[in-house]
């Protein structure tokens, strides 16, 4: 038994300590940000805060949550995430079903599969996509952020692989009972694939919540930015270029604690959601990557 040998025990001890340190390093930046956001203004601006708040106060959160621009962005992000995820999942679900059929049943299946997979291999790139969005009249609207990602081919591939694992017998029984394809889809496939749909919706939700670049190029007014884009503009662009055209925002950013509070609120929904759904994520990843 190797467990009991002295070298293995020494290794094991070292291993536990090492892994604990790594895990700690992964969350250290967030802990630090949280500490800064809860600290008093003076110690935070003097860079004295480490991992624990100094002069504990909720001030930064009061200030952030009473900032109308910030709240509006937060609201837009919520809408975008909810509508965007719902539409994307509906479209992906509808598309995955026919594609999961054998090509004996649905003859042009292979053709359609390639039609979608090609979009993974080759894309028009930034400028042509931008021009199309402009020509479609989607500029400055929330649809520019929702529609282009509504057919997500990666999720499509994962979902259709999941569909293929559903026993054919169920479907045949339903067909004999006289159910149409839509009925089969809604009454058999939908309930059976709820765990998969939950996982993929979460991937999509995280994607929508974190997306910032499309807002930056397709929307003109900073008031209409979703939170991620808003944060990108006030935290990063201003920081690196020192452009001060945003007047009212500037006084807030000069304050480290408010900045930290904004960062933390931006990360919060994900921090709350992911530990509970970790096992689904893991399953989804493995289904999509390891094949026998």
């Amino acid at each position: 038994m190797y467990h009991k040998t002295l070298p293995y025990r020494m290794f094991s001890l070292f291993n536990y300590v090492f892994l604990a340190v790594i895990a700690f390093l992964c969350m250290l930046p967030l802990v630090h940000t949280l500490a800064v956001s809860l600290s008093g203004r003076a110690p935070a601006n003097a860079n004295l805060v480490g991992l624990l708040p100094i002069d504990f106060t909720w001030d930064a959160y009061h200030k952030t949550l009473s900032n109308a621009n910030f709240l509006h962005s937060l609201w837009i992000s919520v809408i975008r995430t909810v509508i965007g995820t719902a539409i994307a999942m509906a479209v992906t679900f509808l598309t995955a079903y026919p594609l999961s059929k054998e090509s004996t049943v649905f003859r042009s299946r292979t053709w359609y599969s390639w039609f979608f997979v090609v979009t993974l291999l080759f894309g028009g790139g930034l400028v042509p996509t931008y021009i199309i969005i402009q020509k479609l009249g989607l500029m400055n609207s929330l649809w520019a952020l929702i529609l282009p990602g509504a057919i997500d081919v990666w999720l499509l591939v994962l979902l259709l692989n999941f569909f293929r694992g559903i026993p054919h017998a169920l479907e045949e029984a339903a067909l004999i009972d006289g159910a149409g394809q839509f009925r089969i889809l809604l009454l058999i496939y939908l309930p059976l694939s709820l765990p998969a749909i939950a996982t993929l919706s979460l991937f999509k939700m995280v994607g929508h919540w974190n997306a910032w670049f499309d807002g930056l190029i397709y929307l003109k007014n900073i008031q209409d930015y979703p939170l991620a884009t808003f944060l990108q503009t006030i935290l990063i662009q201003i920081d690196s270029t020192q452009l001060s055209s945003l007047g009212r925002e500037m006084e807030n950013i000069s304050n480290n604690t408010v900045k930290a509070a904004q960062i933390f609120i931006g990360a919060l929904p994900i921090l709350m959601v992911y530990p509970f759904l970790q096992k689904y994520f893991v399953k989804g990843m493995v289904v999509g990557s390891v094949k026998e």
Partner: protein, 286 residues
């Protein structure tokens, strides 16, 4: 049922593909695709004549190659170490914590890192100075340090999540192999060397080959949120360059030409790499 998906794909994926013709034109927005003049390969020649675009291609290759190398190595080592942990609660806790950064966007992390790495009192530089007496390092303002920071922070953000695949394949190794090795008196180290690592090689090959196809994408989100004019020379990659040249200074055709160059090379890489993965490890997408 296919209709909504097909329409969306046509609009947002196929139309832009036809839009690449503007790479062969002197595109003027008010003239449109039909009215602009054709200039043939002029913009493609320009890519290879402009010194900054060669530098940009080199930056992209270097940063992407470093990322790929470390993103194979680190998750494998981490999965091996985690696999030795017998206490399930500890294992789960470590996993939960190391996945965390994967779910945060580069906007959030960019803002946090800028603060942590600041030479004027950022936490990292403070620790370096107070504990080791090292003078402040300008991580994001010096080109070489910038590359180092980009690769390190990418590995830091993603290694936990990539570990999942390797942990899954470790769980799939036949336990009888270990029992047999132990009966023969092999130590844990020997078992790792002769059973565990060889069983991981196929999945490592797949990951390595598949990641090769992204060698021209070194991470737009990350670099865009971390860089600044001080490090354009060593930190600019193709995607950030296309954004700066294309959208900001309105050289739409030139930017499209670079984008097209990138897409074509990536597409060829993906197809050949997929073929290799299919042959060596029997990997299929669907």
């Amino acid at each position: 049922m296919l209709l909504p998906g097909v329409i969306l794909a046509l609009l947002f994926h196929y139309l832009p593909m036809f839009g690449v013709v503007i790479a062969f034109q002197e595109y003027k927005p008010y003239l449109g695709v039909t009215g602009s003049d054709w200039v043939g390969l002029k913009h493609f020649r320009a890519i290879f004549e402009r010194i900054d675009s060669l530098q940009v291609i080199w930056n992209t290759l270097l940063i992407a190659a470093l990322k790929i190398a470390f993103m194979i190595l680190v998750p494998v080592v981490f999965a091996l170490l985690l696999n030795e942990v017998r206490k399930m609660a500890f294992k789960r806790l470590v996993q939960t914590l190391v996945y965390l950064p994967h779910f945060l966007s580069w906007v959030i992390l960019g803002a946090i890192l800028t603060d942590l790495l600041s030479p004027e009192g950022g936490l990292v530089n403070r620790v370096l100075q107070e504990w080791f007496g090292i003078p402040p390092v300008f991580f994001l303002g010096n080109g070489d340090w910038f590359r180092f920071t980009v690769v390190t922070s990418e590995v830091w953000k993603e290694f936990g999540f990539s570990t999942i695949i390797y942990l899954a394949s470790l769980a799939g190794i036949n336990p009888e192999l270990y029992e047999a090795a132990e009966a023969d008196g092999a130590s844990r180290w020997k078992q790792t060397l002769h059973i565990t690592i060889p069983s991981l090689v196929p999945i490592m090959t797949v990951c390595a080959t598949l990641s090769l196809s992204s060698i021209l994408s070194a991470g737009f989100d990350q670099i865009f949120n971390l860089y600044n004019p001080l490090v354009y020379d060593k930190g600019d990659i193709i995607d950030t360059y296309v954004y700066r040249v294309g959208i900001l200074s309105q050289k739409l055709s030139f930017a499209t030409a670079i984008g097209l160059f990138k897409s074509v090379v990536s597409c060829i890489l993906i197809l050949s790499v997929y073929r290799i993965a299919l042959k060596t490890a029997n990997y299929r997408i669907f």
